[in-house]
């Protein structure tokens, strides 16, 4: 680096810490426009079953990405937190299981469900944060498995094996939010808000400190940070991202049952985050879209090839293996390393 830019950067008026934020790139604006105009050209099936589902799964995976990518804590409890919120909405609000559901109005049931799920996520975090690496994975997996088996066996509150059906998005402001287009915008809105929150928080003092703790917890304690409290707060924030997504997932399926919070879905969220890329908050959404497309279309493809449609898990598993082996930073990593440099070839040197 030449001397002149350095002197300029050290001048009092400049703000080096905000330089990384920059502006939103053109591609970002185009993406936002396409997503906003999607209902004008996409079918209802694509709006809800492909994009709605991908936004919801992506947001849950985003809460995992936030903890893993910025906090260095791989938590498998995020799907459970989301499912917990879904269960709470079914229990507190209305469902087909009238003898259990309390029938609270949605404006009371939804915030209460989110608050309880954040509490659940925070407590899970409090259990997990004193461990590291594989042990964090084990503890959070244990909590997820315990919750799964609990919901399956508990008939009186969690509705047992069948769970709750008939859990629907409410009607308010004269809009039926369970209709495809409004529901699409609902999912898009929370995905965008959650993404924006993560992008904001990781450059705020809280997020910066969290990354410091990820890189060097001992040093952070020696700088005056309460490492444990900071990590628990990160779990609380991640739960706040996942909980509304869990409610949206419940509305999307119209039901919540133990299968939603089973070990399979719990692992799927990890797979989504890893395939997409743990490095940046957009990664989980890329992973989720790919996952959803594979789940929907791999079956047809496999059947066309003369294989059993049930083998879609094999395709997803292979995708996960290939990602871990050849691009540990996910599809985003592939993009950053191979495609973007080519696109930006002639524009290089600006930094």
């Amino acid at each position: 680096m030449a001397a002149a830019p350095v002197a300029e950067a050290a001048a009092p008026g400049s703000a080096p810490r905000t330089s990384a934020a920059g502006g939103i790139p053109t591609s970002g604006w185009i993406l936002a426009l396409v997503l906003l105009l999607m209902p004008t050209f996409a079918s209802d099936f694509f709006l809800v079953q492909v994009f709605g589902w991908a936004f919801v799964l992506g947001t849950i995976a985003l809460s995992l990405q936030f903890l893993a990518g910025y906090g260095g804590m791989v938590s498998l409890v995020q799907m459970t937190v989301a499912g917990f919120a879904g269960y709470m909405v079914a229990i507190l609000g209305t469902s087909g299981l009238a003898q259990i559901s309390l029938g609270w109005p949605f404006w009371l049931a939804v915030p209460t469900a989110i608050a309880l799920a954040v509490l659940f996520g925070t407590l899970s975090g409090a259990l997990a944060v004193r461990t590291a690496g594989i042990y964090t994975i084990m503890i959070t997996l244990a909590i997820a498995a315990a919750f799964f088996y609990f919901t399956r066996q508990n008939e009186t509150v969690f509705g047992g094996f069948l769970g709750f059906n008939g859990v629907r998005a409410p009607v308010f402001w004269g809009i039926d939010w369970r209709a495809p287009v409004p529901f699409y915008y609902l999912c898009l809105a929370w995905a965008a808000i959650a993404w924006g929150l993560v992008v904001w928080v990781v450059r705020a003092p809280f997020g910066l400190a969290l990354q410091g703790i990820r890189d060097n917890p001992r040093r952070m304690a020696a700088l005056g940070f309460d490492v444990t409290a900071h990590r628990i707060a990160a779990y609380a924030f991640a739960a706040f991202l996942a909980a509304p997504a869990g409610i949206l997932l419940t509305w999307l399926n119209g039901q919540i049952a133990p299968g939603t919070v089973g070990i399979g879905p719990v692992i799927d969220v990890l797979v989504i985050a890893v395939i997409g890329g743990l490095g940046r908050p957009i990664g989980p959404f890329v992973g989720a879209l790919l996952y959803v497309l594979l789940r929907i279309f791999a079956m047809d493809l496999l059947v066309a090839l003369g294989l059993s449609g049930q083998r879609f898990q094999l395709v997803i598993g292979l995708g996960f293996l290939l990602t871990v082996l050849f691009s540990p930073d996910g599809i985003l990593g592939l993009w950053e390393r191979h495609i973007r440099p080519r696109l930006a070839g002639e524009r290089g040197g600006g930094r």
Partner: protein
């Protein structure tokens, strides 16, 4: 709370900055520290010398709370901090640097120092991004200047030269309002020119900031302290002024080797 602060303030200057009594640390059956009793006045600058394995770094780790002593008490400005978590000690004005730089390689120099300033401020959990004239950011810039790193303020720490990383390590320890520093071999791996700069930085610290410095390089150690403690196999072996220690024949034999004293 207010009373506690008043007590701490009134204690400053009257009691010892650091008061260790019978500090013992076992690792399994190995006694890394045996019955270490040591007091350092506020503003005093002291070197701890000793061969490898003498327990110097273990002693620092016990004082900062990286691990707890097996027995004994540690008082910091009169307050018993023996069982305090590390971050509580730091918030009371204790600071340390590490023998092997413990920095945040992926962050810029300024962000590293900003984190250190944040750690001893109230904004640790803040979700608001700092403004351009944020006081923490201003003090971070001032610290970067104090350790002569202005020119690399925006560089990633991983890109810095070893000597610059050592200077940054010192800047992190100076964040907030330090009352006492623990410096673990700050000159390790520095070139002669960088050593001279380190001596200048240490001697330029405000007089009220005392420190304990572990250093193998006598030329650095004896030039920046007023008292010396010698450790040997986990025990305190000898105490004195730099001149006394340098003149002591036993010490010369053990630690200074031949051909020293130029």
């Amino acid at each position: 709370m207010a009373v506690a602060i008043a007590e701490r303030l009134s204690a400053t200057g009257q009691v010892n900055a650091l008061e260790l009594r019978g500090v013992t640390k076992y690792f399994g059956a190995l006694a890394a520290l045996s019955d270490v009793t040591l007091s350092v006045r506020p503003g005093e600058r002291r070197a701890i010398l000793g061969s490898n394995g003498a327990g110097k770094t273990t002693l620092l780790n016990c004082i900062t709370g990286d691990f707890l002593p097996t027995s004994g008490t540690i008082r910091f400005f009169g307050e018993d901090i023996t069982y305090f978590p590390a971050h509580e000690r730091i918030r009371r004005g204790l600071r340390r640097t590490y023998q092997i730089s413990l920095l945040f390689g992926g962050l810029s120099v300024l962000d590293n120092v900003y984190l250190a300033c944040l750690g001893v401020s109230r904004g640790r959990f803040s979700l608001l991004r700092p403004r351009r004239d944020d006081p923490l950011l201003e003090s971070a810039r001032a610290l970067v200047h104090a350790v002569h790193l202005d020119e690399v303020a925006d560089k990633k720490v991983a890109e810095l030269a070893h000597g610059q990383q050592r200077q940054l390590e010192l800047a992190l320890a100076l964040a907030g309002a330090p009352r006492f520093l623990l410096l673990d071999e700050p000159a390790a791996g520095l070139s002669p020119a960088e050593r001279a700069e380190l001596v200048a930085i240490l001697n330029g610290l405000p007089a009220h900031i005392g420190y304990v410095i572990i250093e193998h390089d006598m030329d650095v150690a004896l030039r920046v302290v007023e008292s010396v403690t010698l450790m040997h196999e986990g025990r305190i072996f000898k105490e004195g002024t730099p001149a006394e220690i340098e003149a002591d024949p036993e010490v010369q034999e053990l630690y200074l080797g031949h051909g020293h004293g130029a």
